[in-house]
Symmetry: C2
Amino acid sequence: MKFTIQRDRLVESLQDVMKAVSSRTTIPILTGVKLLVNDEGVTLTGSDSDISIETIIPTVEDDKVLAEVEKTGSIVLQARFFNDIIRKLPEDTVMIEVRENLQTFIKSGNAEFSINGLDADEYPRLPQIEEEEVFTLPIDLLKTMIRQTVFAVSTSETRPILTGVHWKIENNELTFVATDSHRLAWRKAPLDNNHSHTHNVVVPGKSLNELNKILDDSQEPIEMVLTQNQILFRTENLSFYSRLLEGNYPDTSRLIPAESKTEVVMNAKEFLQAIDRASLLAREGRNNVVKFSTIEEEAVEISSDSPEIGRVVEKVQTQSITGEELKISFSGKYLMDALKAIDSTDIRISFTGAMRPFVIRSLDNDFILQLILPVRTF
Amino acid sequence: MKFTIQRDRLVESLQDVMKAVSSRTTIPILTGVKLLVNDEGVTLTGSDSDISIETIIPTVEDDKVLAEVEKTGSIVLQARFFNDIIRKLPEDTVMIEVRENLQTFIKSGNAEFSINGLDADEYPRLPQIEEEEVFTLPIDLLKTMIRQTVFAVSTSETRPILTGVHWKIENNELTFVATDSHRLAWRKAPLDNNHSHTHNVVVPGKSLNELNKILDDSQEPIEMVLTQNQILFRTENLSFYSRLLEGNYPDTSRLIPAESKTEVVMNAKEFLQAIDRASLLAREGRNNVVKFSTIEEEAVEISSDSPEIGRVVEKVQTQSITGEELKISFSGKYLMDALKAIDSTDIRISFTGAMRPFVIRSLDNDFILQLILPVRTF
């Protein structure tokens, strides 16, 4: 194996692949990154068994030469060192050559490294994906959907299925649901193509978070391929594989109340900031509890107290309050997470009593919904 | 106590004072910040007994009203909460009032906090400084001198005096020396005024680091007042007190070799980058050891190896090498620290053999010197 490559591009691709490489792994070769060099270009692979990331640097892109391959081949190199070395090399290009006994020679300008490689044949194979059905979304939209739901997955392993986001494809719509059983995030998007089959899978929240970090904002499409136990996300030069979670996701549709007894319409930012202030004291107590009461025809009161620190109270104007009077308590943190996810100027909150879950919706977007369970205090 | 104040300015001053407040203190009242309000303005104080910081927000500055005092007085408030609350308030101004039982009322727009205060009379008094002699430096210069020396103080408490920077005032010059006994940083600056007395004090490295964070880059003067066991740094609205370290600082002047056997002149940045690359492997081994050899009339070789990872070697061009051939080993980290501190395009390194300390100087600035002890390997 011997090739010369544009260093910037190698740095960029390595950075993506490194996201899948964990330094704490029981499989030593997975602390490495695999390089496969053929006439098409240089393929980098990183994996922690759950997530695998593959990037391709083509020899030529948009008429620009990115890599010159002198001899094809493959090697596995210590990911952290290889990454650090490449980032700190002095010149714009770098030459990499595998010599005797897997010794790998890296040269850029006057700097010459010789590092111990590992046999690429011992690197685990990537999951085999049979391409039955391919779904496509703009990258931007997928990123938004992830951001608006993934925060609500459970961080506890007591019910592992809840650490993932539930994907449902039905009637040409893709729906994401995440819940940790204290709150629920729901997001829907139409699919372009015609998909007749129904699919139900659960994608680990961690995988979606990593994917979101790697994908740049762009309206370019991303392809998604589903199998029994894997999902593959694919853009022009990137393949991101994640295992799926096993088991049945609970039926969450019946959690969302169909009717409401109190409806409040208000500005999301003003509400968020008032909750943020109330949470300053609330976070000292248990559950981060903030109290919310309708006090006038068009105003609510947000309050919180902590015996050690003190008390906070704030009146927030609404656009309208309809239905019954209400006093309710909830986690300030969950409410802030929900408001940040909704990303809307104005919101409608639908309550069905102080002991029932309530729902926050955007006034101008039916494709997102956030649900929060209250806390008993009043 | 009752006053209204510009919130931005309060945020800014609190941020400075918070630098002295530690959440881990054996004196509970020191987790608080003291507010003293009189007709001149609002004075904030934070302290961890070693460092005390006082900032003054005058009622009027440059014809702009910063604070309106309705009733003078004082209170101590939980520093972290008070800071968080002020930062998150909705309006540009905030009203603060002490009511019954030290309850402190904070109001901005519709947000109203009522937090538990502590009696300001129980807050420790700041050190009393008798103004015998005041030294003045431009803030920029003081910051540079700190940056160029403080990194070399010892982090070990086995010889506490070495955790400080030695200040010497003699012949109208101020000299800083710091050493952890493996390397030494030395920096000198002329003093403007006429100072006939000789002073020798040791200022804790931690205090200088905190001071450096608080001071903004500026050519404005900063005043320094020395006493037996305290130093006070003073700008227009800030007073920064630090205790001094007790004990005698070792005589470091005889550590610096008067002559040399090998002199190398080279570009600092190229050298730094080569050492940085060599350190990638060196840091895996013990002591972070990098090898340095004169190899040609005008080139040196930097190398390092780690049995597990591999080897790196790099030739670096010099401007000149005079004197004996040399092979020497040293800590890559110490050399990088020294080169970053020197801040010079070109440097001269003076060696007196592989087992003797060597000295790095700027080619165009006699006021700074860095000394490093080698490591035995060749």
